[in-house]
Symmetry: C2
Subunit: 485 residues, 2 copies
């Protein structure tokens, strides 16, 4: 455990030394390092899964999938780094007596990553933030999530084995174990820390963001702070899909006890017979759902408190509940309903309840639906359970929706975030503190880069990415044309 300010200083200074090392590594070397780390994580036996299962209560199957995803992230991001996509090499040569100017992206500096509780692998010690920061050429300090310390330590050990087997100094990655909030805050304030990544609650993320912005030298703080991921169900679609949609929605809402930032916590439709039929199906579906064990007592307590607050609100009615389980740490799923007019007059109803909690909102007419859409805060995702006819009919909704979220879905459910180039996992405030970036997919690397130009710089002293002859064979924009020459 790290405790004193002095120890923090030692950790960050080491990370600065690690950053110096990484600045000398080119994209091929960084990609190789990332693959080596991926191999070490992959090679870990059942102890990793068992430990994580004990610490998080997540099912073994889910954890195995998450481990595979995590390994894949390291490899995919490494391959992306290798192509030079994030190097963005631009070369404007000395043509006709002009200056010779070359630019590329280097790492921004030591990056502080806060592990998340709900993805012990993919968003934690060895998760996407760590992989993308290392890929960008930054050293990383992970503040492990206190809810799964042993899992985190196993991952940190694997990363260090990878680093050592690659031949890099251990300083490029540090793992800080502490359940003190203050330690995290001191790390954010340390002058040598140059960026922060966080996934968790609004209160936690916003506090870190404010801390980062109030430093003498403000730094980027990428906080993903949750979302209610509204699902709009439109009338033509509902004509033929009531049953499948009800199953799909309740399945997504209660998946993993609703502990996903893409959990579809709000369902919005137009009052009327069809919507009433849908509600009946939703009621039937949720009643079949068993209570599940949540990640830890704190999350379970928080869920129960918020759920009860909502249920007691004027104008909020319980539609149905899942099966009860009075054991500690278990969460009973619930669907409540309210009229749009009520929600519009009490916007707190549109705040996230982390867990298997769904709010079904009835709009009196399409105008009210549009007003409700307009009133939404920034979201990770917005889903339309719609037919193509609905799309044509409700065009005005989509125009607004584009400015409200990072990802738009036509049918389907927002849970199940695929790790792809085209993924945008991030949305306007308060979903995240910076909607210009994603925390999932190789583009997550962009968060941690910074461009540097070299003017008339002698070739032998340039980074390899910018040297004549393109020794790394990456795509470069040379005199305004893409080439590997």
């Amino acid at each position: 455990m790290i405790a004193s300010e002095n120890e923090i200083d030692v950790v960050v200074k080491r990370a600065e030394a690690g950053f110096q090392f990484l600045q000398q590594c080119n994209v091929i070397e960084r990609a190789k390092l990332m693959h080596t780390i991926a191999d070490e994580i992959e090679a870990m036996g059942t102890v990793l899964i068992e430990t994580a299962h004990l610490e998080t209560a997540l099912p073994v199957g889910r954890l195995e999938g998450e481990k595979a995803r995590t390994v894949n992230q390291w490899r995919m991001y490494g391959d992306a780094v290798r192509t030079g996509l994030y190097t963005e090499a631009r070369i404007d040569q000395n043509l006709g007596g002009q200056i010779d100017l070359r630019k590329y992206n280097g790492g921004i500096g030591p990056v502080l990553v806060f592990g998340a509780s709900n993805f012990p692998f993919a968003f934690s010690t060895a998760g996407g933030d760590t992989a993308s920061a290392l890929g960008a050429g930054c050293s990383v300090i992970v503040k492990a999530h206190p809810a799964h310390v042993r899992t985190s330590q196993l991952m940190a050990d694997a990363i260090h084995r990878g680093i050592s087997s690659y031949g890099a100094p251990a300083d490029i990655f540090s793992h800080v174990l502490s359940d003190s909030l203050e330690i995290g805050q001191q790390l954010v304030k340390h002058p040598l820390v140059k960026a922060v990544a966080f996934t968790g609650s609004f209160a936690g993320g916003k506090a870190l963001f404010d801390l980062g912005q109030s430093r003498p030298d403000p730094i980027p703080v990428f906080a993903e702070m949750g979302s209610i991921n509204p699902v709009f169900v439109l009338p033509d679609y509902l004509k033929n899909n009531v049953e499948t949609f009800a199953k799909q929605y309740i399945g997504s809402l209660t998946l993993g006890q609703g502990q996903f930032c893409t959990n579809p916590g709000v369902l919005i439709g137009l009052s009327g017979e069809r919507f009433d039929t849908l509600k009946a199906h939703l009621r039937a579906e949720i009643q079949t759902i068993s209570a599940g064990k949540m990640l830890h007592q704190g999350i379970a307590d928080h869920y129960i408190r918020l759920k009860n607050e909502r249920v007691e609100c004027d104008g909020v009615r319980i539609l149905a509940q899942g099966k009860a389980n009075t054991e500690e740490v278990f969460a009973q799923a619930i669907l409540v309903e309210a009229d749009a007019a009520r929600v519009l007059s009490k916007p707190e109803l549109l705040e996230e309840v982390f867990g298997p909690f769904g709010l079904v909102i009835s709009c009196a007419d399409r105008h009210e639906m549009k007003v409700l859409m307009n009133s939404l805060a920034g979201q990770i995702s917005l889903t339309f359970a719609a037919s193509e006819d609905d799309m044509r009919e409700y065009q005005e909704l989509f125009t607004i929706a584009k400015n409200k979220c990072g990802r738009l879905l036509f049918q389907g459910m927002p849970t199940g975030v695929e790790v792809k180039y085209a993924m945008q996992h991030g949305g306007p405030f308060p979903a995240t503190t910076d909607p210009r970036f994603t925390s999932v997919g190789p583009d997550a690397i962009k968060r941690f880069i910074r461009p540097i130009s070299f003017q008339n710089w002698p070739d032998e002293f340039l980074p390899k990415e910018l040297q004549d002859g393109n020794p790394l064979q990456i795509e470069r924009l040379v005199n305004q044309h893409w080439t590997k020459d």
Copy 2:
């Protein structure tokens, strides 16, 4: 003149409507709009140059060059937008039953631009910030700089002629005339404003940044706040280049009365005979420089006050001055000197004096030079007057320098910022509030984009940039491969 909060609200709501229009415009349409605006600016006759000359005291030749640069910026950024470089279309198709996911960059929303005083064309109403924001697909509100209102109005009229001739609504560009600080602040705080660009003083930029970060929903504020652009002169280089270097340095220092953010305000060398010889040449050079008229009285007063403060500092000695001119608004160039030890004990000496003010710092040895390099705040640029032998010998300096600035120069002078893809005009705080972006060159467009993903979205409702068949023929990353198919 705009005065009331109500009028501000009207302007911003119009900009929001303009943004809605631009969201429907694809890259080809936006590029065409930008070329149309460029043509209108180019077509303006001598009245533009004459007005600007009267308002800014800048020489006609310089203004003609700046006008050509401004026209070129609109065209070059338009061409860049046209290629899809900033659209970053990524398509991961539905292969083997996966989801179909497509992502592109849209505009972030209405952008507020503050005109700068020192570039009445290139960094003002029709400058790079406006061009890059429109290129990104954002509507723009310009708060004109009060020091050249008539010039700004001529430019705003040209932009509106271009918009009208293209057939877009006037709302995509608004021009706010006011010399009230409060109006600017209210604009930054308006909920519909989504990003801010500013070029000017540290005090002004930092205040706007803090305002932007303390909004209920923080927004990016890109403030370029000045720099001292240190020039390190190394011993081997000095052997053969004393005379040419002295001319070059004094020329750059006093160019345009030193009113550039890339003005080389600090010169650093190793004490000794060679450096003394250089100082003698610098003295001789600066004494030939006539006093020039500054942009406006406020800047001239500020220059004189700061210059006098520095001269009165303990340990600061006057090396030489340019020719005097006691007329109002004229600035006399000056070179002062100090030892590195003194500068290290009084870091305020390394703050910018906007104008033809140079501080020559003597380091006792290379260790002290390294310590001084380490003590530097973030800079737009760092220049090495060095030979290749010096580069080899002083490698440790360059390693530190990379983390201190946005642009590194080998020989030459930092003034004369070319508008190129490979230009990085921006540096670590306090040079700018966000070193991850440039304000010069097409990459300036990146400041105002935001990615949006579309999952399983029907082709006909996708933006053209993402549709099957690639109707706009832009470069896209499809299933991890670049293609125009």
